[in-house]
Amino acid sequence: MSEEPLVQWDWLFDHLGPIAGRVEQHLYLAAIAVGIGFVVSFALAAVSIRRRRLYPFVTLLATAFYTTPSFALFVALVAITGPSVLSAEVPLVLYTVILFVPNIVAGFDAVPKEVLDAADGMGYSSGQRWWHVELPLAIPLVVAGLRLTTVSTIGLVTVTAILGDSLGGLGYYILDGYHRHFPTEILVGGLLSIALAVLADMCFVLLQRLLTPWAAARAAAR
């Protein structure tokens, strides 16, 4: 092994097509998990904000998911739903909840009380207040949650490779490289996965700048 070069470039160039396919699958698996996780978490957060007493239970539930080892959960699901996208997505979605919910709740909690008081006094209906005041002001922390969750999920997608060769995104190369003692594959899978996470994070930073020009103004004023 020591006489072989760490990266075999010809392998890389021979497999550009399949690698691109795995990148696509990786993004697809991550996007579904983050998308569904966001919707589920937003609903849970909305309930937690309205009914504060439920918040500890929601957190407890999310933590319970999170403490289950991902490996065990994937394997358990294969027994029920087979090596399918569903088996991959259920744990991925469940793991997003613990990251999303506290951020969304904190985002809405961070809306200053006097701003809500003023909004009511101006004559916003509760729906208008939510859409025009609360949601925009919650965006910075909600997007912070999206960044965290997306980075974490893109990393976690690699683990779904244990469900079979048809899944795993770039994780397929990591697992395959491990079995074949072939570092080039491991490096391609790992480094591209990191690159995807960094790129996705940068996209969200850009999105946040576009959505919250006022936050940049505030930072500049300080």
């Binding site: 200053p112 006097e114 701003v115 008081d117 003023a118 909004a119 009511d120 006094g121 101006m122 004559g123 916003y124 209906s125 208008q128 005041v133 925009p136 002001l137 919250t212 006022w214 103004a217 505030r218 500049a220 004023a221």
Partner: protein, 369 residues
């Protein structure tokens, strides 16, 4: 201040107040006919009738209000003043129904606010709070245009109104309307808060400690500017403060509240200072209430004597407050000073005795409570 009250009575849009000289009965009842509650122009009368707010079965919870009754004629500034927990902010918030009363009624131009749809009611009532509560994600221009937007004004009319209001509160529209609240000083934010509250030309303004969050110098300037503005606008204003001096300066009428949410005294500032209704009021307005009364009067209000030897005596423009004039006489260690007229010519000699005797008469030109 008394001069301002008289002047505001003469200004456009508050002709009603001319009918409110002491001893003109029934003027309140007529207000409800002249200004319909749906109208945006002018000012509305405001009346509390037996208004009560209980937070639990026990009496005397902080913020509770107990059987509060008073009437504010259209175009007047009424100040609710009292120690913290006396229910003054609760009382204010019951007007725009941010807090619902447990009993009694609040009449805006004779119409019970409970009978009006709540968001419609709030859009016709200007609301200014201590922390301002500007929307941090909206520019100054869009903050000011919130209520006109909710009311469905055309974009063009909103823009014109926003520019007009920013200029009115002393902020150059071109410089300020594109900024975010975080880019403003405390004083500038308060001005935007006032402009926002005035946007739809509401007949009533609720102001909850609007100048408390800025430093004393800025506060004094904002108070003066607001009084100047009010002389033109002649809105009905319910103003909450814990500061007696601010109450005396801003109020045409003062409602002193005490713990338990009870009304301790209601009347014009000079009357409350001259004849406190209870030990509580006397203590609350302070041992220097005589001096405070002097700050309600100016040198122009004082009888003058013929001037003998004038050399070395201090001289006072006619709008000098008597409190300041007295202080200057004491510092200069002299019994008298020169009262000037508007043109700066000597009008006569104003003495310490004359200043003292000015307190014997109640102030003219007051609103009948």
């Amino acid at each position: 201040m008394p001069g301002q009250v008289v002047e505001s009575g003469r200004s456009a849009g508050s002709g009603r107040r001319l009918g409110l000289a002491p001893g003109s009965p029934g003027s309140r009842g007529e207000d409800s006919i002249t200004t319909p509650v749906s109208g945006h122009a002018g000012a509305a009368s405001l009346e509390f009738r037996g208004v009560t707010k209980r937070y639990d079965s026990r009496a005397g919870t902080p913020g509770a209000v107990n059987d509060l009754s008073f009437a504010v004629p259209a175009g007047a500034i009424c100040v609710l003043v009292g120690p913290s927990g006396c229910g003054k902010t609760t009382s204010l918030k019951m007007v725009n129904r941010l807090i619902e009363p447990s009993g009694g009624e609040i009449l805006l131009d004779g119409v019970d606010v409970q009978s009006v749809e709540v968001t419609a009611l709030r859009r016709r009532i200007g609301y200014v709070i201590q922390q301002v509560g500007l929307f941090p994600h909206l520019t100054v221009g869009r903050n000011v245009a919130v209520v006109t937007g909710l009311e469905g004004w055309s974009k063009q009319r909103q823009r014109a109104r926003t520019r007009e209001l920013l200029a009115l509160v002393g902020l150059d529209p071109d410089r300020y309307q594109g900024r975010y609240p975080s880019q403003l000083s405390g004083g500038e934010r308060q001005r935007v808060g006032v402009a926002r509250a005035l946007a739809a030309d509401p007949p009533l303004m609720l102001m909850d400690e609007p100048f408390a969050a800025v430093d004393p110098i800025v506060r004094e300037r904002l108070q003066d500017e607001f009084l100047r503005l009010q002389r033109e606008l002649a809105k009905t204003i319910l103003f909450v403060t814990h500061d007696v001096d601010e109450a005396i300066k801003m109020g045409d009428l003062i409602a002193v509240m005490e713990e338990g949410g009870r009304l301790a005294q209601f009347g014009p500032p000079d009357e409350i200072l001259a004849q406190p209704a209870s030990d509580f009021v006397a203590r609350f307005v302070g041992a220097d209430r005589g001096l405070k009364r002097l700050s309600l009067r100016t040198v122009a209000d004082v009888e003058v004597e013929r001037i003998g030897r004038a050399d070395g005596l201090p001289s006072f423009p006619p709008d000098t407050k008597l409190r300041d004039a007295l202080a200057m006489l004491l510092v200069a260690d002299t019994r008298g000073g020169i009262a000037l007229d508007e043109t700066g010519r000597p009008r006569g000699l104003v003495t310490v005795d004359a200043i003292a005797s000015a307190l014997a008469d109640p102030l003219p030109g007051k609103i009948d409570a």
